[in-house]
């Protein structure tokens, strides 16, 4: 559904992402991992057209991403950012209905249709926010608010979800809920997700593929088992780690080792 071919993205002269290729197929979850400043967010912003690549090409459903109008991209790719910045009081319903913007039959104005409301209600129950419709966004807890942000992305009915550290400010239980929701969506075999995360264990457990980045370059791309080897992680993060198998899921389990043993 989305293919990036050798894309390079510059900020001024500085190359933030260099020659990265990535292919997203329906039903897959791809985790992007790497140290701060590795170019993960820049890559994600390139994949939805916010930042234009200086070299390389991005194809969305076989056609160049550049050839789509903004509304066309928004119907196919949804982004979940770290945190919503709320300066005006909006209700959860109003916020999530915002995801229906690209589907408005009246162009960029008008009111939401019955179908818009129907889709939104479905998303609210999927994200366990039934009954929250008329609550104000800035009165919600961090976990609830982040679920509403995910809900707005799901309300776009886009088949590709791009998530930029969706769990950064959440506690353990809420992190798992978020990723379970995303994984559940992708198990329909139509939706795919690209998730930036710092939690290597979550990446190992939920992702089909892992893209490891450092200094704007792709170091490795493959299954969690292939990518998350101790040698690579030491090389990329400069930290000794222990990698074994999770006793229940069998996914690679990464434990940082602080200090020198014995």
């Amino acid at each position: 559904m989305l293919e990036a071919r050798d894309i390079t993205i510059n900020y001024g002269r500085r190359e933030a992402v260099g020659d990265v290729s990535l292919r997203v197929k329906p039903g897959e979850v791809i985790a992007i991992i790497g140290p701060n400043g590795a170019g993960k967010s820049t890559l994600l912003r390139g994949l939805n057209g916010t930042l234009a690549p200086t070299r390389g090409e991005i194809l969305l459903e076989g056609k160049p991403l550049r050839s789509y109008a903004r509304r066309g991209v928004a119907r196919r790719i949804a982004v979940v950012a770290q945190e919503a910045d709320l300066r005006f009081p909006v209700t959860v319903l109003e916020f999530v209905l915002g995801g229906r913007y690209a589907w408005s039959s009246a162009g960029t104005w008008g009111w939401e249709s019955d179908r818009d409301v129907e889709v939104t209600q479905g998303v609210l129950s999927e994200t366990e926010l039934d009954g929250f419709e008329s609550r104000l966004m800035n009165e919600l807890s961090g976990g609830e608010r982040q679920r509403a942000v995910l809900g707005r992305a799901l309300a776009t009915e886009a088949k590709l979800l791009l998530l930029d550290e969706p769990t950064a400010n959440l506690d353990l239980a809420h992190q798992a809920t978020m990723l379970r929701l995303v994984r559940g969506r992708c198990d329909d075999r139509e939706t795919a997700a690209v998730v930036i995360t710092h939690d290597l264990n979550l990446a190992a457990e939920f992702a089909n593929h892992v893209l490891l980045m450092k200094d704007g370059r792709a170091i490795a791309l493959g299954s969690p088992r292939e990518v998350l080897t101790p040698e690579r992680l030491i090389d990329v993060f400069g930290l000794r780690v222990l990698v074994d198998a999770h006793p229940i899921t069998g996914a690679p389990r990464i434990t940082p080792v602080h200090g020198q043993p014995g």
Binding site: L86, Y101, S104, N138
Partner: protein, 334 residues
């Protein structure tokens, strides 16, 4: 917020506006008889009013009230638009320096093209647009525009343009200076038919454009990047809305000077009593803004009648305390 509720809110505000309009046309230094005046307003005939009373009602009071209404519409909706676009509940044409930009434009037109009345609203529009773009650029730091930075940028532009205004004033002859000082604070007494027409046409076009972009503004006020991700052509909407808001401010300043705080008070009250949805905030602010300025101007011309206050003094008396309250409360809520 649904279409039905929005229409309901606007219907109520329209009734309020009609009531305010009727009452305002009756009160003043000369009180007019109620039933005969109502009859004259509805039928357009004399209904037993003396010719002097008719002249007061139709030639003096009504044009002034209509202008007040148009100015209120322009400023309140422009304020709502700036607030949504700059994501700042404190944004207001007067405080951002946009009104001063329009004032510089108007005065330049008066000094250099005095014979052409049409040059005033045009230059006012150009001045407002220039001031808007300058404030926007100044407020956008590396870390994005914070509410405080925007207000500071507004203060700087305002003081700079105030010096420009003082400079232009010195180019005028002394007899006109007093009327200009009055005009700068917002003065609705100098209405002409063409200025009234300009104000109404600008209000119609400007409010129309803003309503058409209200749904995009709903997303942009929650963050430009999120709006872009959700399909809003952010750059285009920003330009269109800035132009429409500048048109509104330009038309109102060209016809009545800088009436302050209308764009702060009215959208705030509308949001407080309905919702933040711009599809209701903008049309409701248009109607409520018209009522607000008509009431303020009625007070301005009756409190110390037969002498008058500038209407801007009344709106600032109401608006400045509200601004302080909003600032103290933090800008995160409304």
């Amino acid at each position: 917020m649904t279409l039905r509720r929005s229409l309901g809110v606007c219907g109520l505000l329209l009734l309020l506006l009609v009531g305010v309009l009727l009452i305002a046309s009756l009160v003043g230094s000369q009180r007019l008889p109620l039933s005969a005046s109502l009859c004259a307003l509805v039928n357009g005939s004399n209904c037993g009013l003396s010719s002097e009373q008719q002249a007061i009602l139709f030639d003096i009071r009504l044009p002034r009230i209509l202008l007040a209404g148009a100015v209120g519409m322009c400023l309140a909706t422009a304020g709502a638009a700036y607030q949504a676009l700059l994501r700042n509940p404190l944004a207001e044409p007067y405080l951002l320096g946009v009104s001063n930009g329009a004032a510089v434009g108007t005065m330049t037109a008066l000094v250099f093209f005095g014979a052409h009345e049409w040059s005033r609203p045009l230059m006012a529009f150009a001045g407002a647009l220039a001031a808007t773009l300058i404030v926007y650029r100044l407020a956008r730091g590396r870390a994005g525009a914070t509410p405080e930075r925007l207000i500071l940028a507004g203060v700087i532009v305002t003081t700079f343009l105030s010096s420009a205004i003082v400079f232009i004033t010195t180019l005028m002859d002394a007899t006109r200076i007093r009327s200009f000082t009055f005009w700068l604070l917002g003065d609705l007494s100098g209405t002409t038919a063409s200025l009234l027409a300009v104000a109404f046409v600008a209000a119609g076009i400007g409010v129309g454009i803003l309503v058409m972009n209200a749904r995009s503004l709903n997303l942009m006020m929650l963050g430009e990047r999120d709006a872009f991700d959700l399909g809003v052509e952010v750059g285009r909407v920003r330009l269109i809305v800035f132009a429409a808001a500048s048109l509104l401010v330009g038309a109102s300043v060209a016809s009545s000077g800088s009436v302050g705080y209308v764009g702060l008070v009215v959208p705030h009250l509308v949001r407080l009593s309905t919702s933040s949805d711009n599809r209701v905030v903008i049309p409701a602010s248009a109607l409520a803004g018209a009522s607000f300025v008509i009431v303020a101007d009625t007070l301005a011309r009756t409190i110390i009648a037969p002498r008058e206050l500038p209407v801007g003094a009344i709106t600032a008396l109401i608006g400045a305390p509200l601004f302080i309250y909003l600032l103290k409360r933090g800008t995160s809520a409304v």
